[in-house]
């Protein structure tokens, strides 16, 4: 079993976490100018990189949403970043 770090609760079992989506997607705006294609791309398409990834996860018991940086091949976990800090980091 792996331990992931919740920015609020600290290290917890991987079973308490839920993957939501890849990080870094920007919601296309303004809505009335967004084509169906662009919207579908935003909603559904993934980069699914091999290697280092940044993803949005939620820690189910406390409800904290955060960025989890990890490796999609080795499964190594690098770090967890609260969503509010992520924009500044980029």
């Amino acid at each position: 079993m792996q331990l992931f770090e919740c920015p609020f609760c600290g290290l917890r079992s991987e079973t308490e976490f839920h993957f939501l989506t890849e990080a870094g997607k920007q919601r296309p705006e303004p809505a009335e100018e967004v084509s169906d294609e662009k919207w579908a791309d935003y909603l559904y398409n993934h980069k699914s990189p091999r290697g280092r990834t940044a993803e949005i996860w939620v820690h189910i018991p406390c409800g904290e949403f955060f960025i989890l940086e990890r490796d999609s091949i080795t499964r190594e976990v690098f770090r967890s970043i609260p969503l509010k800090d992520y924009e500044q980091l980029k």
């Binding site: 169906d36 993934h46 980069k47 699914s48 091999r50 993803e55 999609s72 499964r75």
Partner: protein, 416 residues
């Protein structure tokens, strides 16, 4: 090609040194083909076979990065069924099931298809209502589905947990009698042999790195064995597909997950249907060798490696022991994982992409094996006619743009 029959078996058996010929040719790549198929798993091999058989296109090469049939084709739990909810899905999966029913004869290769029946067990009155709904959907879609009482279900699976403290009591179930299992390797080998016999080149250990582009058009591929040109390209590379088509600027709505399977030591026959519990999410069957083969849901962490995680193993194994406590005496022989390409609506993607002449068949997620004949049939149709077969039409990429998803994950209320 040798014709396999009881007589050829006896004739070879009587020889001091049986002289079986290799079932398919090991081909060297030519410089160009009419059609290239990337991916030598079940779907790629069956595509080549149906291109030759249904459409007369025999100048075809299959490019496989390793040996054929060793990806998910050789890693699944061999179950074949068509108990889906939406008419589009049933048309697709039942085409596959019907093709499977005649496949051993057609390929002259015993795929050991055993239609032993697929049983879904319900544990609560609510789950029985879900079963009712599924049975009605199946019957409306023209597929066999039979609602069973608790007594009937227990008659089929006498080893089911009937203890007073059982967490999931049997409340009834639903049966698809035409469902069953087949030998997965034999499906790959049978299609490979039949395709090779039509003159298709099966090129193993040939990794496709990139596409050859001329004036924005795809004219071939760059491989570890050099450039190979083709008029049309079919991609049936499962989890590898997104990486290939991204080189053409096409993104796909696919995430890769690991899906695990487990096998125990072989025992005497004790389970003659495929059983899925709606409560535990674990499904189980007994192989012809006597092993108990079982699996469950996806690992919930996206990954590209064929390795499973421990919490999911725990969930699946405890599910099995809850269903059949007596299996707790068995030793586990093997556990493995395959990488499955999961689409948001749990339905496959079959159709053209952003470049003319390039077609994909991927996104089968956890259920690609049962769809091998249909996937090949439909991709071959696209490659030969440059237009959809009516069955594959709803499964194109444009459904994500139009919103016309075929959401089987919610539709049938079970894991796929």
């Amino acid at each position: 090609m040798d014709h396999y029959s009881i007589w050829s078996l006896i004739a070879q058996g009587l020889k001091q040194k049986p002289a079986w010929k290799p079932a398919w040719r090991k081909a060297k790549p030519k410089s160009s083909y009419e059609v290239i198929i990337i991916g030598g798993g079940g779907h790629g091999l069956s595509t080549a076979y149906y291109l030759a058989k249904n459409h007369g296109i025999k100048n075809v090469a299959i490019l496989e990065k390793g040996p054929i049939g060793l990806g998910n084709t050789g890693r699944n739990t061999t179950t074949i069924r068509s108990n889906y909810f939406y008419p589009e899905s049933v048309a697709l999966y039942d085409l596959s099931l019907r093709l499977y029913e005649n496949l051993s004869k057609e390929l002259n290769f015993n795929i050991m298809f055993s239609q032993r029946g697929l049983l879904m067990v319900a544990h609560t009155p609510t789950q029985m209502e879900i079963c009712n709904r599924i049975a009605n959907a199946m019957i409306l879609n023209g597929v066999d589905g039979e609602l069973l009482s608790a007594r009937q279900v227990l008659g089929l699976i006498p080893l089911w947990n009937r203890r007073d403290d059982a967490r999931y009591n049997c409340h009834g179930g639903i049966m698809q009698g035409r469902g069953g299992v087949a030998r997965h390797d034999a499906v790959a080998w049978g299609y490979a042999r039949a395709a090779s016999n039509f003159g298709v080149d099966i090129i193993e250990n040939c990794m496709v790195d990139d596409f050859l582009l001329e004036a924005g058009q795809v004219v071939g591929v760059n491989t570890s064995k050099g450039e190979i040109r083709a008029e049309r390209i079919g991609i049936a590379a499962a989890g590898g597909t997104p990486f290939l088509v991204r080189k053409l600027g096409q993104d796909l709505p696919i995430l890769d997950y690991a899906l695990q399977a487990f096998v125990t030591e072989p025992i005497k026959p004790c389970l003659d249907v495929v059983v899925l519990s709606l409560g535990t999410g674990t499904y189980v069957l007994q192989s012809d060798k006597g092993e108990i083969v079982f699996g469950g849901g996806l690992d919930r962490i996206p990954t590209h490696t064929q390795r499973g995680n421990l919490p999911t193993q725990e969930t699946v194994v405890s599910g099995l022991l809850e269903m059949f406590p007596s299996f707790g005496q068995l030793k586990m022989l093997r556990q493995w994982a395959g990488v499955v390409d999961v689409v948001p609506d749990s339905s496959p993607i079959i159709g053209p992409i952003n470049k003319p002449g390039v077609y994909i068949n991927c996104g089968w997620g956890t259920g690609g094996f049962k769809a091998i004949p249909a996937g090949g049939w439909l991709l071959a149709h696209l490659l030969a006619k440059d237009e959809h077969h009516y069955i594959s039409e709803p499964f194109g990429l444009d459904r994500f743009k139009t919103g016309k998803l075929i959401d089987e994950a919610t539709g049938s209320g079970i894991a796929h």
